[in-house]
C-alpha cells in the first residue's frame, strides 16, 4: 500500500495550499476556484477513505454547485476583496462595475 504515500502527500499539500490560497487571495474569483480545488481534493480523500458515495456527493456539490453559486454571487457583487488595510469604498465600487 506504500504506493499511496506519494499521492497522499501531494493531495495533502495541494488541499492545504489551495485552502490557504483561497483565504489569502485578493481576487475572489481565484479564491472561489481554489475552494473548488479544496473540494476536489476532499473528494479524492473520501475516495481513498473508501467512501465512494460521499466522494461523489462532494464532487457534485462541493466542486460543481458551490463553485457555481459562488461565481454567480461574485458576478453580482465584487471580484476584488475589499480594503483589508485601508482601501476606500471607491475600489469596491470599481470591483462591482467590472
Amino acid at each position: 500500500m506504500n504506493w499511496l504515500v506519494i499521492p497522499i502527500i501531494v493531495l495533502v499539500i495541494l488541499t492545504i495550499a489551495a485552502a490557504i490560497y483561497a483565504v489569502i487571495s485578493k481576487n475572489l474569483l481565484y479564491a472561489v476556484v481554489s475552494t473548488g480545488v479544496v473540494s476536489l481534493g476532499l473528494s479524492m480523500f473520501f475516495f481513498i477513505l473508501q467512501a465512494p458515495d460521499v466522494a461523489l456527493t462532494e464532487a457534485a456539490i462541493g466542486v460543481a454547485l458551490t463553485t457555481i453559486i459562488f461565481i454567480i454571487t461574485i458576478r453580482n457583487t465584487t471580484e476584488i476583496e475589499c480594503c483589508d488595510e485601508k482601501k476606500s469604498k471607491i475600489d469596491v465600487k470599481k470591483g462591482g462595475e467590472k
Binding site: I8, L49, D53, T66, T77, C82, C83, K89
Partner: protein, 121 residues
C-alpha cells in the same frame, strides 16, 4: 507506520482545513471570504468524520456481487451517511449565505463586514 502516516495526513489535513476556514471567517473582512471560510471549515469537519470512520484495510460498505459471502472488513458506513447529510446541509447554508451577501451588497454597496453595522448596541 503506514497507519501513522495516514492518520497524520488525514487528521492533519482535516484540522488544518478547519483552522484555516475558521481563520478566514474570523479575520477576513470580505463577506464572500467569510462564507468561503465557513465552507472550508465544514469540509474539514467532514473529512475529520470520514477519517474517524475509516477502518484499516476496509473496503467501501457496498455488498456488490464479488463481496457477498466473503469475510471482508468494511469501513464504518455511519459517518458516510452522516457526512452525506452534512454536505447537503452545508450547501444549503452556503446558498442562503450567498444570497444574503448579494442583498447586503446591493443595500450597502460594499462587501466589507465592518462597514455593515446599521444595527448595533
Amino acid at each position: 507506520m503506514m497507519n501513522e502516516f495516514l492518520m497524520i495526513s488525514f487528521y492533519g489535513t482535516a484540522i488544518a482545513l478547519i483552522l484555516i476556514g475558521l481563520y478566514a471567517t474570523l479575520a477576513k473582512k470580505n463577506l464572500l471570504k467569510i462564507v468561503i471560510g465557513l465552507s472550508i471549515a465544514d469540509s474539514g469537519l467532514n473529512l475529520l468524520f470520514m477519517a474517524i470512520g475509516y477502518v484499516k484495510d476496509g473496503t467501501a460498505p457496498i455488498f456488490s456481487a464479488e463481496v457477498v459471502g466473503k469475510n471482508v472488513v468494511m469501513v464504518d458506513p455511519v459517518p458516510q451517511a452522516l457526512v452525506l447529510t452534512a454536505i447537503v446541509i452545508g450547501f444549503a447554508v452556503t446558498a442562503v449565505a450567498l444570497s444574503l451577501v448579494m442583498r447586503l451588497y446591493r443595500h450597502h454597496n460594499t462587501a466589507a463586514i465592518d462597514e455593515i453595522k446599521n444595527l448595533k448596541w
